[in-house]
């Protein structure tokens, strides 16, 4: 299998879908002539031209809303937000329009829209640029939310997102763009709503999404080497729909769960997972469910401090040891 970067995997997925379906368009700030602020759309404008790959002014509310309208008409727009933090400017369009139009029309109208871009802290760009709104978005019935952690998942989920007939919020991570991994060749599609065991284990379940999966894997490796603890790593991949059965099966096997989440703790994704586990696997637990989230403050700029604000392998290991 070819080894490519997360960035390349996304680029391949976009190119293949643009090629496959004329209804697919790519739109956003700097996506065309500049090749993308983070080079996810590199080469697409050159290859597919002005009609399919479109640069926008800095008008998120306007162009995301345009994407919703065009999707209602049957196009399949893939809208780039340079950062998911800028979605806050377009919130009305995402929540009220993309999220509600099908329901408000009694099912007469669909919205096959993808909104994608990076959503992460850890790059010292300050509070306004470091938001991780997957929990807010997943709080809106009508929206789907996916957070791939690896190049293969990025590719497979992007292709599924574009083919999906509902609005999908696709959350990437600037710190993952350069990560390499094996990606199957051909038309590789991963259904949205299926979690993935990134590492099998017997003593504790580390449950994570996005880059936190890599942090959990690093912790699992050290737990094995240094403490002889066998940690299983469950990658949610999709936040909504959520693969509850994979989570529950893992907890029923290991009897312990530590949830790793780059969200802030209050009503973060991990809060939903904790609720699920206590409702449906209470009797299987040998210890209270633990969480390792971003420290509960706006993202600090100061580089050495921000490194500690996000979940670290050390913090995960401490939590695991505390319940083992």
């Amino acid at each position: 299998m070819p080894v490519i970067t997360y960035r390349q995997a996304l680029n391949d997925a976009l190119a293949e879908e643009l090629e496959r379906d004329e209804k697919v368009i790519v739109m956003g700030e700097e996506v065309a002539e500049y090749n993308g602020a983070y080079k996810i759309t590199e080469g697409l404008w050159k290859r597919f031209g002005d009609k399919r790959v479109v640069d926008t002014p800095i008008s998120e509310a306007g162009f995301i809303g345009l994407g919703v309208g065009a999707a209602m008409m049957g196009l399949r727009p893939v809208m780039e937000l340079m950062f998911w933090s800028f979605a806050y400017v377009a919130y009305d369009q995402i929540i009220n329009n993309a999220g509600c139009v099908r329901y408000m029309s009694g099912g007469l109208i669909n919205c096959p829209l993808v909104i994608r871009g990076p959503s992460n802290g850890g790059t010292n760009v300050g509070a306004t640029h470091s938001h991780t709104p997957e929990n807010f978005l997943a709080n809106t019935p009508g929206l789907k939310v996916v957070c791939p952690a690896t190049p293969a998942d990025a590719k497979g989920l992007m292709k599924a997102a574009i083919r999906d007939n509902d609005p999908v919020c696709f959350m990437e991570n600037t710190l993952l763009y350069g990560e390499q991994g094996e990606v199957p060749e051909g038309d590789y599609v991963i259904p949205i709503g299926v979690a993935d065991l990134k590492r099998e284990g017997t003593d504790v379940s580390l449950i994570a999404h996005g880059r936190a999966v890599l942090t959990a894997l690093a912790a699992a490796h050290r737990l094995h080497e240094e403490f002889n603890i066998s940690a299983e790593v469950v990658d949610l991949r999709s936040i909504r729909p959520l693969d509850e059965e994979t989570i529950l099966a893992s907890v029923r096997k290991t009897h312990r769960a530590v949830l790793v989440d780059e969200n802030k703790p209050f009503c973060g994704v991990s809060a939903q997972i904790a609720s699920l586990i206590q409702e449906r696997a209470f009797d299987d637990l040998d210890a209270p469910v633990q969480r390792v989230c971003s420290l509960d403050a706006p993202a600090i700029y100061s580089p050495p401090l921000e490194a500690l604000q996000l979940p670290t392998a050390d913090r995960i290991i401490q939590k695991v040891l505390a319940i083992s």
């Binding site: 700097e30 002539e33 010292n124 209050f266």
Partner: protein, 366 residues
């Protein structure tokens, strides 16, 4: 009236105006004029030093340099009186130094140190000094535009004769919130002055590819019944004269103004902008440096007026360089914030230990 960039060099037009004769400029002292030179050079030397250290990995995140645009911040901000305020976007170093923030606190902020103006919490894009009427430093494009409106609203509400200079870029003019702000400013007679720093590009997008206009960006004010003007940003006298006119309109009539100041940035959008020389030619950048550099042009002007010579320039420039070097040392020597500092400055009530701050749970770590 509308002036597009192509027709820009007004000084060579049929009726060149000498803004040095404008009332606000006519009485300037030699000291003041040399002060403007010093202020512009301080911004440039500060940023050149910061660029070097950014490249050495002493800072994180983004660094948006203002180099090339110095006359805009210096020309406008020097006009501010007690009740005049300023707010801008993320390209904020020039405005910060312009209002009198020290190089030390600004450089330390870039380093993420506890001695920074925002205690290392905000970074390059988020400088603040409310004690100097400077309200930031804002990272979200156009996010500051309604804040400037609100600051001016509060001035009027309190019966103060002031205004808020609200800066934005040529790319920010296409955000909805800016248009909503213009409407409110005119509808409610708010003493806000919107100043578009038109450096021709928003990241890699030229103005022509981002804005649908008839003549110029400022002309959009017509639709909101707001007075507007275009300004040749490389001429400090013109910047002052036209900004002062707008400030008087705000002070005396409580009416908003929209100014569009033509300027140019030499570096990439941020230092991380890998395409900086792809969406515009190196020749274009060089052309601006050679012919439109605001500092060189001001220096020339002062020489023509007979108040600056080589020795005088050297003294001013050496002082700016020394101040920047001292600031770097200060930043290097300063401590980083402590881990627990992450949790301060979030809630006033918690920081001050008030009853409200001690009621209910505010933070959710375990």
């Amino acid at each position: 009236m509308s002036v597009t960039r192509a027709e820009k060099p007004k000084k060579t037009g049929p009726h060149p105006v000498d803004y040095a004769k404008a009332a606000i400029n006519a009485d300037l002292t030699t000291k003041q004029k040399l002060g403007f030179l010093a202020d512009m050079l301080r911004i440039r030397r500060f940023e050149q030093a910061s660029l070097k250290l950014y490249q050495q990995g002493k800072m994180g995140g983004f660094l948006h340099l203002y180099i090339g645009q110095e006359s805009v911040a210096v020309g406008t901000i020097a006009l501010m009186g007690e009740h005049d305020h300023v707010i801008t976007a993320y390209r904020d170093h020039g405005h910060a130094l312009g209002v009198g923030m020290s190089m030390n606190e600004c450089m330390a902020e870039l380093f993420g140190k506890a001695t920074g103006c925002s205690k290392g919490k905000g970074g390059s894009m988020h400088f603040f000094a409310p004690d100097k009427n400077f309200w930031g430093g804002h990272g979200i494009v156009a996010g500051q535009t309604p804040l400037g409106l609100g600051i001016a609203y509060a001035l009027k509400y309190q019966g103060l004769k002031g205004c808020c200079l609200t800066f934005l870029g040529d790319g920010a003019v296409n955000q909805g919130v800016y248009h909503e702000s213009l409407n409110l400013a005119s509808l409610w007679d708010i003493p806000v002055i919107y100043i578009i720093e038109n450096n021709q590009y928003s990241m890699g997008t030229s103005q022509a590819r981002s804005s649908a206009i008839k003549g110029c960006l400022a002309e959009r004010a017509e639709g909101y019944n707001i007075d507007w003007d275009t300004v040749n940003g490389e001429d400090l006298y013109e910047v002052r004269a036209k900004t002062w006119e707008a400030m008087q309109r705000a002070h005396e009539k409580c009416r908003p103004t929209l100014l569009e100041i033509d300027t140019y940035r030499y570096y990439g959008h941020s230092v991380a902008d890998a395409n900086a020389k792809k969406y515009r030619s190196p020749e274009e950048i060089e052309f601006y440096k050679q012919n439109h550099d605001p500092i060189t042009l001001w220096e020339k002007r002062l020489r023509e007026e007979g108040i600056l010579d080589d020795a005088g320039l050297k003294t001013i420039d050496d002082a700016a360089k020394k101040e920047a070097a001292t600031a770097v040392q200060f930043a290097e020597d300063s401590p980083f914030p402590e881990l627990e500092d992450i949790y301060s400055d979030i809630y006033y009530e918690v920081d001050l230990g008030t009853e409200a701050g001690q009621t209910g749970r505010h933070f959710f770590n375990d």
